[in-house]
Symmetry: C2
Subunit: 322 residues, 2 copies
């Protein structure tokens, strides 16, 4: 029996680190996890992770052979193989995770941030198959982005390309504070948190009744606002419209940088579909320079939220030498 | 005697079309021009241009052999070999200039816009030698930009990447009108025309005396404002400071897209050096996301304004297969 080649896709999150064995078609043959937050020492974390990967690989029915390890992590730097100054992970400063991982294996180890992994995942396994120039925007608690140009992920000179969540959409000192320390960043408007912030402002200005007036800022989340919106709640709908408009406005600027074929939206907010896509598309088109009008596709990601992180991380290996 | 290989660099402008024979080191061995505005028919223009190139090539003392033709032109589309809807050139609609040129020669013919040609020129002959990730911003009557990523010019899915002159810097209906039909575009602030517009606003708000109060908007130009500024004229200096600040603010956003090693400024305004570089650098650094701070070089182009267009156009040929 011939062995089936798999890449290990590893998604390092603040709470859990999930990994899976992914074949070249995007089938996940087995998945497991360890608790990230339990390991204060990066060396101990990597050793435990590697051991768990080996143990899990032995339990898989298919006869597999591992061809490499792809890692998605906040602040993952593909140039240096490091995680740098992540605010959410237990390890501080610059962590040379690829090198530490390499003490256990001679196979390729590639690390990048979540949004870049999502972009490569979309190209290898999702809706961007066959595309050479596109952008993926991940909408979660924050906003991430990954650029593919000429068929290759753009990682930039310092390994940190694709941080459009921290470009200015409403510049000026009176605008929304961002976790990065500045004001008016795109992420403060277009993200699950941005949606909540917009909801509160609309609620303050409007006299419309809304069930959401019963909930505190901390109790609110994107799903609650979505459920209210599809039931016809005016304030919830307006919050989505405003979020989509701000996104669309910014996308017109993104297009003027690299002129992509398509922009994919991924993550919780993207699941709200028309509520966010319609205003985003309309406002993008209205603000596009004439030469781009009607040419750029705005599409939902074809990766499921559940599998995307592992698929995206594994695709770092599958896209090597392509 | 061995023949010296040269690429023909052709710069198509509204008034003149200038061409030169450029060797692989960037030496211009001969230069000539024809009047663009004299030719209503693109076929007649190309035939006249090609004939003039041949005639001129025979007059050059060196024994040369032409290896290709690089063309820089407004709205030049590198994907399709076309000039599309140029507002300034005599030919309307979509002009398949590479194909028409190809009726005269079997050598490679490559066309792109001026800013993209400047970017490749900077890589082949200028300050970006050896760099793989950088941006060139051309500051003339308007603002153009060219992106190089992974060592290749980014032309985008439709051939129109790098139009950051038409990204929003001051969004909103009350802001400066742009030639593209929108409002608040970067170009309306950061360009020779933008400098004049800022000067007028500062003049209106300020009580400071200034020799420039004697000149009309139409009489003013960037050189006059520069000369006033270096003589200490307060309003002229403030106009440069404001222009540099707006540029620096936007550059922080540009960095968050593709994380370049360096940004080069080219063109008339860039010659004002400290007057524009100092506020631009300061404001870029202040607005950069932490991970980029202190890492991105802001540099003057190393191509002379006089030769850049021809060098840039010829570099399209010299950078082939690199």
């Amino acid at each position: 029996m011939t062995k089936k080649e798999v890449a290990v896709g590893i998604d390092i999150g603040a709470t859990n680190t999930v990994f899976g064995f992914v074949d070249s078609l995007g089938n996940i043959l087995g998945e497991e996890r360890i608790k990230t937050s339990q390991y204060d020492e990066i060396e101990v974390f990597v050793a435990a992770l590697y051991e768990k990967i080996l143990l899990t690989s032995q339990k898989i029915k298919d006869n597999i052979t591992i061809v490499g390890f792809g890692i998605g992590a906040p602040m993952g730097n593909i140039n240096k193989g490091t995680i740098e100054y992540s605010a959410s992970l237990p390890w501080k400063g610059i962590v040379p995770i690829a090198e530490i991982f390499g003490r256990h294996t001679n196979l390729p180890v590639i690390i990048t941030n979540d949004a870049n992994a999502a972009a490569v995942g979309e190209m290898v396994f999702g809706g961007a198959k066959g595309m050479t120039d596109f952008v993926v925007i991940t909408l979660g608690t924050g906003l991430g982005s990954g650029f593919v140009i000429n068929g290759k992920l753009v990682y930039g000179h310092d390994g940190f390309a694709g941080e459009i969540g921290h470009t200015a959409i409403r510049p000026g000192p009176s605008n929304r504070e961002c976790g990065c320390g500045r004001k008016g960043c795109l992420e403060t408007y277009v993200s699950a948190t941005g949606l909540k912030r917009s909801l509160l402002k609309i609620m303050a200005d409007s006299m419309e009744p809304s069930e959401l007036r019963k909930l505190s800022f901390e109790e609110l989340d994107a799903e609650i606002i979505y459920n209210a919106a599809i039931k016809g709640d005016y304030i919830a709908k307006m919050a989505f419209t405003h979020t989509g408009m701000m996104l669309g406005f910014k996308l017109a600027d993104v297009v003027a940088h690299t002129n992509p074929e398509a922009i994919f939206l991924f993550g919780g907010l993207a699941l709200a579909r028309d509520l966010i896509f319609e205003p985003a598309k309309q406002y993008m088109e209205e603000n596009l320079l004439g030469i781009y009008k009607g040419k750029v596709k705005l599409l939902p990601s074809e990766l499921s939220i559940q599998n995307a992180a592992v698929l995206g991380a594994s695709s770092l290996i599958w896209s090597m030498n392509k």
